[in-house]
């Protein structure tokens, strides 16, 4: 059973990184979407302030579909770079900053690269989504097993 959010206090997040993400998002969205892009960027900033940077990151990708439906190539990469600070700001402020954020960044680059490769290799749309989600689930399960071993929670009868 998962714990309730109410069980935990508020999580402090790095405000500087969040602000940087909002500014870059504003610039990138304005660049690719004009006035609509600016409005979407303001909405993303609002989400970041009201909820958390990760939700804002997700919201930005949903709004990007409205702002620039046909975005691709270098422009798309630049927009993702502009959104990256929001993703990095989603870690708690107490996290070991450089090491942990580098881990998030590398994971993001790796999974994004997987998306690019999969799009070239798999024709079916559901196949693309399945491979990406499956890769995340597989890696998550691997870390889970590693955790069980590391904390000595694996009994001898476990497979």
């Amino acid at each position: 059973m998962s714990a309730s959010v109410a069980d935990f206090g508020p999580v402090r997040r790095p405000r500087g990184l969040t602000a940087l993400g909002m500014v870059l998002t504003l610039g990138a969205f304005t660049l690719v979407g004009g006035g609509v892009g600016t409005a979407a960027a303001v909405a993303v900033a609002g989400i970041a302030v009201l909820t958390n940077p990760l939700t804002a990151f997700v919201g930005a990708h949903l709004l990007l579909f409205l702002v620039a439906p046909d975005i691709a190539g270098l422009t798309f990469v630049l927009v993702e770079v502009a959104l990256a600070p929001l993703l990095l700001a989603s870690l708690p402020a107490e996290a070991r900053s450089m090491q942990d954020r580098l881990l998030v960044a590398l994971s993001f680059v790796g999974l994004a690269a997987t998306v690019v490769v999969v799009r070239d290799l798999v024709d079916a749309r559901w196949g693309e989504v399945g491979v990406v989600v499956g890769a995340i689930a597989l890696l998550g399960y691997g870390i889970h097993r590693y955790e069980l071993v590391r904390l000595d929670l694996v009994s001898e009868s476990d497979p």
């Binding site: 959010v5 949903l62 579909f65 798309f76 989603s90 870390i143």
Partner: protein
């Protein structure tokens, strides 16, 4: 590792992005899914390391104040947790108790180490309603990461065992005037020696019995192997007369007068068995003899005596008044009769008839269960008898007469008295008054001890007696 609801919310957002990517063929949505996945995996990996480091740094100590207790005794347990280095995790430790233990609610057995804290401690009390040896279960440690995204529960072993003993008298003092006697019973001269083996009873053969003891005639009669038990015969027989009247119920549970008397009686029984002394037992209840075993030297007989002693409990009956000033001896009655005769008051006139027939008092004392029991012992046990009486000091005059009866005809008696003042509940509210009562008891004991062939000892909790004797030392 269990995700929190906060984590599931983020996973749900990733699912929405995946759905949009599936419906709209948008690469941006899939990259967004990759972003959420990157956050999830890196957080999971980072949390795993943090949890492992925290568990490695954690030292938990569960320290009962004592490792032994008696049933229902409150036992204080101190719990402390220490981290070598501050951790970003929140750590909650919950001490679990053995299933049979009675303890406080879980919240009172829990300590929290907030992120950054390195030490925490708490203490609580628990008790055990049953006797036995109990291992303290592992301490449950719940970890929560600094982003409140994952929790994990691990256990830390606690190598602690608590032994719970049944309630029984401890620090049993047997002595005279506050001085312990090393051995009120034990090896003694065997007298003129035994006269061989006396058949006691025939019983069915059981594994371990010597084949030499098989009674072939009885075996032929019964159709199955039977053996004949013998008892050796010595001149002196020991008879335990244990008072289990309601007076003996005074004292805390497991440490009543009867419990202390029982300890002494069982010591006698063991000693007699080791020395092959003939041993008998009479249990005195409020209405007469509650149990009886004539002197025996058989193993089964000794066992029956021990079983009867263990099972003895105070019988129901009216509590005895403090009889130190009651007129229950003929001599006292005659004295009061003389005093009343010299008075002309209405009070003396009214009471005089009750003291006129002073000799009838002997019939009344014959109704005393202890006296009656000793009379029965005299009648039933032949030869030299060493009577061991274990009783309280509640009925002093009856006791005096009963002991006189027991030592009639050259027999010896050992009397073990449980002074009521040493057993009454709680601490001594008035130490001086309690000492005065003990001094009164002691003078009674000494007067009884002066009787020929009689040794009188006091039996009681040593710590309480020591408290009274400290008062005497202060006075002097």
């Amino acid at each position: 590792m269990q995700p929190t609801r906060r984590t599931w919310q983020h996973v749900g957002l990733g699912g929405v992005l995946a759905g949009v990517g599936l419906l709209a063929a948008q690469p941006a949505s899939l990259v967004g899914v990759a972003g959420v996945g990157a956050w999830l995996l890196s957080t999971q990996y980072r949390t795993t390391h943090t949890f492992a480091q925290t568990v490695d740094d954690l030292t938990v100590e569960v320290d009962p104040l004592r490792h032994s207790a008696v049933v229902d005794e409150r036992l204080r347990v101190t719990v402390s947790a220490e981290l070598d280095d501050p951790s970003p995790c929140g750590v909650t430790l919950t001490v679990r108790l053995p299933l049979t233990a009675d303890g406080p609610a879980e919240a009172d057995r829990t300590i929290d180490l907030a992120p950054g804290e390195t030490t925490a401690a708490t203490s609580f009390t628990c008790s055990f309603p049953v006797a036995g040896q109990f291992s303290v279960p592992d301490v449950e440690v719940e970890l929560t990461d600094d982003g409140a995204t994952f929790t994990e529960s691990v256990t830390v072993p606690v190598d602690q065992t608590i032994t719970v003993d049944p309630r029984h008298p401890r620090n049993v003092h047997v002595g005279q005037g506050g001085n312990r006697v090393a051995a009120a019973y034990g090896e003694h001269a065997a007298g003129s020696g035994g006269s061989g083996l006396v058949p006691e009873e025939i019983r069915q053969y059981t594994a371990g019995d010597s084949l030499d003891n098989i009674d072939w005639k009885a075996t032929a009669r019964q159709g199955s192997p039977h053996v004949r038990d013998y008892e050796s015969q010595t001149d002196r027989k020991t008879v335990l007369v244990v008072d289990q009247r309601s007076d003996m119920a005074v004292g805390p549970e497991g440490e009543s007068m009867l419990d202390f008397a029982r300890e002494v009686a069982i010591g006698y029984a063991r000693s007699a068995e080791e020395l092959d002394d003939p041993l008998g037992l009479y249990l005195v209840g409020d209405d007469g003899i509650a149990a009886k075993q004539r002197p025996t030297t058989s193993t089964r007989g000794y066992r029956r005596i021990r079983d009867a002693l263990y099972e003895a409990s105070p019988t129901a009956g009216p509590a005895a008044p403090d009889t130190t000033t009651h007129l229950t001896r003929p001599a006292d009655a005659r004295r009061v009769s003389r005093e009343l005769a010299s008075e002309n008051s209405a009070f003396a006139t009214t009471l005089a008839p009750f003291f006129a027939e002073t000799e009838s008092y002997v019939h009344r004392i014959e109704g005393d269960p202890l006296f009656e029991t000793l009379r029965r012992v005299q009648a039933e046990v032949s030869g030299t008898v060493w009577t061991v009486v274990l009783t309280s000091d509640a009925r002093r005059n009856q006791l005096r007469d009963a002991i006189r009866l027991a030592t009639k005809g050259g027999d010896h008696a050992s009397v073990f008295l449980t002074p009521r003042v040493l057993y009454e509940d709680g601490e001594f509210a008035d130490l001086e008054a309690a000492y005065d009562r003990y001094a009164d008891f002691e003078s009674f004991r000494v007067s009884l001890d002066r009787a020929p062939r009689t040794n009188v000892y006091e039996v009681g909790p040593g710590d309480r007696l020591e408290a009274l004797l400290a008062t005497r030392r202060r006075r002097s």
